[in-house]
């Protein structure tokens, strides 16, 4: 047969076709394998499952080495929805001891969750006890897609200091956004030092890299575990808090609303930070946390609100030592300067009342008797001293700067979340209210006696006490003494010197000592302890005066500075002084039957109608750990169990 050369050329078309196809495919392979690197990540995502191993959270000890917070294991039941195949729900519910409707509800809630995805692990149930876990583990193979992650449950040795310790909660989407450490289902500190020391307490997560096939089955460890990372436990914390003093403080504050702050002046270490009403920290852990948290939030006395450093109160007469210091420093007065007091400060139609004592009066007796008139006159002379300052506005700025140097008006920087800065007004503030140049010392005379616009936290008042005890400086107050393995944080040993000369402090100390020996706080006169003190009776728009006490002891080698603030309890001498005196004794002299009896007596003196209190309640073992239970905490709902 003759070859048709015309048709033979068609081999080039057919050959060309397959050459073109192969070229196109090679270009595609270049695109897939050489240019686009995202497929590698996709494949790794498919094949490798990182199993997180949670580190143990740091333990918390008190200043004397007593274990305050520790961990016990609990378990979270997790699931990957896409891997779940139909299973025996009755068996499942029985094993977990939940009802069918609870099961359905959990399923619904999980599906509605913000971070829900059928392809990632979801928390089906938190807080399985070791017993639950034991029952479940045997049957887990029957429920494909479910697995258990071990977590930690915080346990508390003492039912006190809830406000200091804080609690832990599950992270929300904001936490996850802000800190890439967190994954859905993780826990984070919520309040107190659990929150402020979160980064040390939480430790470093470990991971195990597992190989997972398309059906979700785990086929083993990647690289025989060579790339696994062991978790690093969180750092333990040593508190500056004396847990027994704290417990005693909470006992004293029962039935009252307010705060006690005790500071070791030399170190700024907070020995007790009591806020009342308080609650058992165990309320905010485990299964019942959600409900208990809601109850605490809704409680009208706001137990979650730490009055010791979040609440800003008028400091009342505890403010007077600062005024004496400023007047001395500014040369407005000398120790011998006398001002008249005719049952008060009476000038140009204005009267600030005072109680009966001799007149005229000098600085130390004025502190001893808490004379309003003396400090009003001093304040008026300082504000009106144009010869020195030029104007009231400028004089007030000088005054304000002294106040700031003594730790008022700004946050002190306590290592706790949510500190209030109190309030010290400045010139611009009054210019705005009264008009520039249209106000004088007389206009704002209440500032002189810690009323008016002045607000301070009990922590700031205690810090003032510590500053006076130190004769002119304070260390940033803090509740954590040191972090195991890290040491002392630099900000916790920062020394702040006030801009008042040391010599003037001695006069104030003498005045405060006189107040204890024969003035407003004679009930704090404990033989041998040389207590110095200053009462306060703070007027406030919310009813009865607040009862305030500020003091330190011993006079010449101060070991403890204290502030007691009891809302709506009348004169400072009524509640503030006795509570302060008991705290000082308890700390300096240690426990004694007499103090316990006096403590119980104080605990029974209520300023508000607080119903009797339930003991909290987790489990039997939990209650046993509360053997040393020195106080009955105010519960969330106030009802008796």
């Amino acid at each position: 047969m003759r070859k048709d050369y015309n048709l033979e050329k068609r081999k080039f078309v057919i050959g060309g076709f397959i050459v073109a196809i192969v070229l196109i495919y090679i270009v595609r392979l270049v695109q897939l394998q050489v240019l686009d690197s995202s497929y590698k990540a996709h494949a790794d995502n498919n094949a490798f499952m990182e199993k997180v191993i949670y580190p143990s959270r740091g333990l918390i000890y008190d200043r004397n080495g007593k274990l305050v917070v520790y961990n016990t294991p609990e378990y979270d039941l997790m699931m990957i929805p896409k891997d779940v195949t139909p299973f025996d729900t009755v068996d499942f519910c029985n094993t977990l001891q939940i009802s069918r409707s609870e099961f359905d509800q959990r399923w619904q809630e999980m599906r509605k969750g913000r971070n829900y995805s059928a392809f990632t692990q979801q928390v089906f149930m938190h807080h399985l006890t070791p017993e639950d876990y034991g029952r479940l583990q045997e049957k887990l193979y029957r429920f494909p897609g479910f697995f258990v992650v071990q977590r930690i449950l915080r346990q508390y040795s003492y039912p006190v200091a809830a406000n200091v310790l804080g609690d832990i909660r599950e992270v929300n989407s904001k936490d996850i956004e802000n800190d890439e450490y967190y994954r859905p289902g993780d826990y984070t500190g919520d309040l107190g030092i659990e929150k402020s020391y979160e980064t040390w307490l939480r430790g470093i997560k470990g991971k195990e890299i597992l190989i997972r096939d398309a059906t979700g089955k785990i086929k083993g460890r990647y690289n025989d575990g060579a790339d696994d990372v062991s978790p690093v436990a969180g750092n333990n914390l040593k508190l500056s808090i004396d847990i027994e003093l704290q417990a005693y403080g909470e006992l004293l504050m029962q039935g009252k609303v307010g705060a006690i702050v005790c500071i070791e002046p030399k170190t700024g270490e907070i020995l007790a930070l009591v806020s009342s009403p308080s609650y058992d920290p165990a309320l905010l852990m485990g299964k019942e946390r959600g409900k208990n948290y809601r109850d605490l939030v809704n409680n009208r006395l706001k137990p979650l609100y730490d009055r010791s450093y979040m609440a800003a109160y008028p400091p009342g007469s505890t403010f007077k030592p600062t005024q004496g210091l400023i007047f001395l420093q500014e040369g407005i007065i000398s120790t011998s300067t006398q001002f008249p007091c005719r049952h008060g400060y009476i000038n140009a139609g204005l009267r600030v009342g005072c109680h009966g004592h001799g007149s005229p009066i000098s600085l130390k007796p004025a502190l001893q008797t808490s004379c309003n008139a003396y400090f009003c006159w001093g304040f008026k002379y300082m504000m009106d001293k144009r010869s020195k300052y030029g104007s009231t506005g400028k004089a007030f700025e000088v005054w304000k700067n002294h106040m700031v140097s003594m730790g008022y008006g700004y946050k002190l920087g306590i290592d706790m979340p949510g500190e209030s800065r109190g309030f010290i007004p400045n010139t611009a503030f009054y210019d705005k209210i009264y008009g520039e140049g249209k106000w004088s010392g007389q206009t704002i005379i209440s500032d002189a006696i810690g009323q008016g616009e002045i607000l301070a936290t009990p922590l700031q008042i205690a810090n003032l006490s510590a500053t006076i005890a130190n004769r002119g400086y304070y260390i940033t107050p803090h509740v954590v003494k040191n972090i195991e393995g890290i040491g002392v944080l630099k900000k916790n040993i920062e020394r702040h010197d006030t801009d008042i000369d040391k010599q003037y402090y001695n006069h104030i100390v003498e005045g405060m000592r006189m107040a204890v020996l024969g003035g407003t706080c004679t009930r704090a006169n404990i033989p041998g302890l040389d207590v110095c003190g200053k009462t306060g009776t703070a007027q406030n728009p919310h009813g009865r005066d607040h009862s305030v006490f500020m003091g330190f002891a011993p006079m010449n080698d101060p070991k403890i500075a204290v502030c007691v603030y009891v809302e709506n309890a009348g004169f400072g001498a009524a509640f503030g002084v006795p509570i302060g005196a008991l705290m000082i004794q308890r700390y300096l002299r240690g426990d004694s039957p007499g103090l316990q009896a006096q403590g119980r007596a104080m605990a029974s003196r209520h300023t508000i109608a607080v119903p009797k209190v339930k003991k909290t309640t987790t489990s039997g073992t939990q209650a046993d750990k509360h053997k040393k239970q020195p106080s009955k905490p105010v519960s969330s709902d106030g009802s008796e169990e």
Partner: protein, 489 residues
Amino acid sequence: MEVRNEDENTNLLGSVDWFTIILYLIMVVAGAVSIYAATYDYDKASMFDLSEYSGKQFMWAAMAFLIGFSLLLIDRRIYEAYAYPIYGFMILLLIITIFVAPDIKGSRSWLVFGPVSLQPAEFTKAATALALAKLFSTYGFTLNGWRNYAIAIAIIVLPILCIILEKETGSALVYTALIFVLYREGMSGFVLFAALMAVVYFVVVLKFAAATFMGIPLGMVIAFILVMTLIVGMLLVYCRSWILGRNVLLGYLAAGALAGGLTLAGVHVNGYAFFLPVIFLSLLYLLWGMLHDDLRKVLITVCFAASSVLFMFMVDIAFNKVLEPHQQKRIMVTLGIADDPRGAGYNVNQSKIAIGSGGIMGKGFLNGTQTKLKYVPEQHTDFIYCTIGEEKGFVGSVAVLLLYLALILRIITLAERNHSTFARVYAYCVASYLIFHLTINIGMVIGLCPVIGIPLPFFSYGGSSLWGFTILLFILLRIDADRHSYGSW
């Protein structure tokens, strides 16, 4: 020329195409090794264990070598003489299969003999090739006249129909590749061109169906413009009629300018109301122009343009009215219109991840995670190329492509060096099958073609496929080995 029997074997060893055999052996061994990698599990046994896919594939391969060797011993005259009976027998087997085969994943294409299952459709490829070769080599047969075309097309369509009835659409489509054989043997290149254009229209119309332009789907607008370009192009290149081409082009440009002006003036111009009359008028003009020019070529141009427009509408209607939703989805996913990594696109998405994650050098033998952990379905059969892409990387993937290219080009060379029509047609049949399988299978795995379940010859797991292609290839090798005995006469 006569060949003495005693010389046959020596002659055979000398004249058989060893290049092809070596390519074949490389592919089969590489295939079985890839299957071992694709099905490898941590606690599994050796590559040659008969309980493993790779072990079985080596067994299939050993038997395939035996079959291949046996086929080399059969005189080519036997193939020529029994081409029709073999074809008839295979068609009969296909028909029987429809009725006796068990339902396996919806398809009735497997004949079960105890532990062994075979797919007759794989062996029909060789039978059809033989029948086609026999037909074309019939004395005096040329691809002319409707009767001869009808016989040739019938030989191709018969197995297609049977296999469609077995619900193995993918395997049935393979036979459409024989259009290359018809083309080589004299069918107008125009048909091939039309087939190509049909694919282009299909893709364009569907790919741009969602967007609208001038009030009609954008895909239709592009297709209309394509048709108009084609008309002008054919007038200039094919009909070589410069005047007609110029006039039609100027007419289109004028119409386009008019439409543009109207749109700017704020008048809404409907696409159908614009393109259909313009194209219709241009075709009318061409019919009149025929009187002055080459009648046949212009008429073909007109017919081609008219059927193009018709085809566009048919695609649109067929896709939306005839195809099942899951078929629509599969096509849309392939064309990149719809994205569905967990549904219709799951296989392809995972297979792209497997190949893409291989990088340039690959993850190394048995280190592929995508395939080893079974993320890619059918990884040892239709998606075997994934394993190569993942573990051997770009280098290995390209090497496989080049192996195939070498094999196909070699077969075309064998076809053309044979002086007998029987050998040439048969060889082109083999080349066409391979072209189709390669294009569709690898195109599917790298996400360029729709998912059509056909194996990668010599690589994919399965005895039927391996044996079917071995038979195809070794019959060719024997026929080729005898090329000097059967010269042109």
